[in-house]
């Protein structure tokens, strides 16, 4: 029965060659082949993309929001990690 036996999949679509796949949503499917077809039917109706990645949701591991203070706050005051003190010569236009 769908939903019970069909795992949830996270869907990533790349809009054109050279960019990154973006997370667009999730859907249920029995296996990877069906997940790709479902993603094609649900998430590319308006030419949103040319490439689809599907990953079963259980394989996506996420950080715990409660740990955010210890994971991210320390980076806030470490200005020496940013390359802001280099003076670029004017001739370098695309750095």
């Amino acid at each position: 029965m769908p939903g019970k036996d069909w795992p949830l999949w996270e869907i990533f679509i790349r809009s054109k060659q050279g960019l990154d796949h973006k997370h667009v949503g999730s859907l249920h499917a029995a296996d990877a082949q069906m997940a790709i077809e479902n993603a094609r039917d649900v998430y590319t109706r308006r030419m949103e993309g040319v490439s689809i990645w599907v990953v079963e949701s259980r394989f996506v591991h996420a950080s715990n929001p409660e740990e955010a203070p210890s994971l991210y706050d320390p980076a806030n005051d470490k200005v020496y990690r940013h390359p802001t003190f280099y003076n670029l010569p004017d001739e370098l236009k695309h750095m």
């Binding site: 939903g3 859907l27 249920h28 029995a30 082949q33 077809e37 479902n38 039917d41 649900v42 109706r45």
Partner: protein, 285 residues
């Protein structure tokens, strides 16, 4: 040649057919259009009722593809009909003596329709809808592969564009045949019942009408009897993967759709599909 939904622009100059040839080409195009419209309509009846959201959308997409194909063909047919004062379809012309795609779709009755009997069958359960789609898409794929080389540039352009859509329809329906066949005892029973119900309509797909054979000599149409082997091979391959027995055409085969001899099911479908246009001709929204 890139073809959008409107082919009546001056980019696409229709060949200068006349007389018997014009009449045959119109019949042929109507046949291609009617198949697509009727199956598109049947599939659209699932919208909102699909077993799961993603499949509801998938089948609705397929319905839209088919109606889009029908539009292309009806527009072309309308262009040709409007050129010919002797065309029997001129009887549908409204005040300005022009027929349009809408007129052809909404103001013909069941005996005027040239679709095969398979596409007008009621949806039944998911298995029956899948088998109907699989049988039809296998046929459409084989047909459009060849029709992309038609001597008629507009027919070939529409076929070439449609082939991409049909490639997906065939893939999607094949996958479902395999899942239902090689699935649970219930799914296997349902798909076997669906095959038992629908296989009587299979032979008509590859049985050419007289006008098809006539036009095949000029390489405008495809003699569909030549598609039989490809159709059979594809069906066998998918049934095999689905752990289903090879298709055997044991039931008496049904014919007549291409000549306008339809079941009541088509008239019921048309009653529902055509009611708005017939009640309020020319209505827009």
């Amino acid at each position: 040649m890139n073809i959008n939904s409107d082919i009546t622009s001056t980019d696409y100059e229709a060949p200068a057919y006349s007389g018997e040839m014009l009449a045959a080409v119109v019949e042929y195009i109507l046949r291609l259009a009617d198949n697509a419209l009727i199956l598109g309509h049947r599939n659209s009846e699932w919208t909102g009722f699909g077993p799961i959201l993603e499949q509801d959308i998938a089948l609705s997409n397929i319905a839209l593809d088919l109606v889009g194909q029908a539009r292309n063909y009806y527009q072309y047919a309308a262009t040709l009909v409007n050129r010919s004062h002797e065309s029997p379809w001129q009887r549908l012309a409204t005040g300005k003596n022009q027929v349009s795609e809408d007129v052809l779709a909404y103001f013909r009755d069941a005996p005027d329709f040239r679709n095969c009997l398979l596409v007008e069958q009621v949806n039944g359960d998911w298995a029956k809808t899948i088998i109907r789609q699989f049988f039809f898409s296998t046929y459409q794929f084989a047909l459009f592969e060849k029709l992309s080389f038609s001597a008629d540039k507009i027919i070939s352009a529409i076929a070439e564009k449609s082939l991409k859509e049909v490639t997906y329809h065939l893939r999607w329906s094949s996958e479902w045949v395999i899942r239902l066949g090689d699935g649970t005892p219930e799914s296997q029973l349902r798909i076997k019942n669906a095959i038992a119900e629908l296989h009587q309509f299979v032979s008509e797909l590859t049985s050419p009408a007289s006008y098809e054979l006539f036009l095949a000599k000029y390489n405008i149409s495809v003699d569909v009897s030549k598609l039989r082997n490809a159709w059979q091979a594809r069906t066998d391959e998918v049934f095999n993967q689905a752990t289903l027995p090879p298709l055997s055409l044991s039931a008496k085969q049904a014919f007549g759709g291409k000549e306008g001899k339809h079941s009541d099911q088509l008239q019921s479908l048309l009653n529902e599909m055509q009611i708005m246009q017939r009640t309020y001709p020319g209505c827009e929204w």
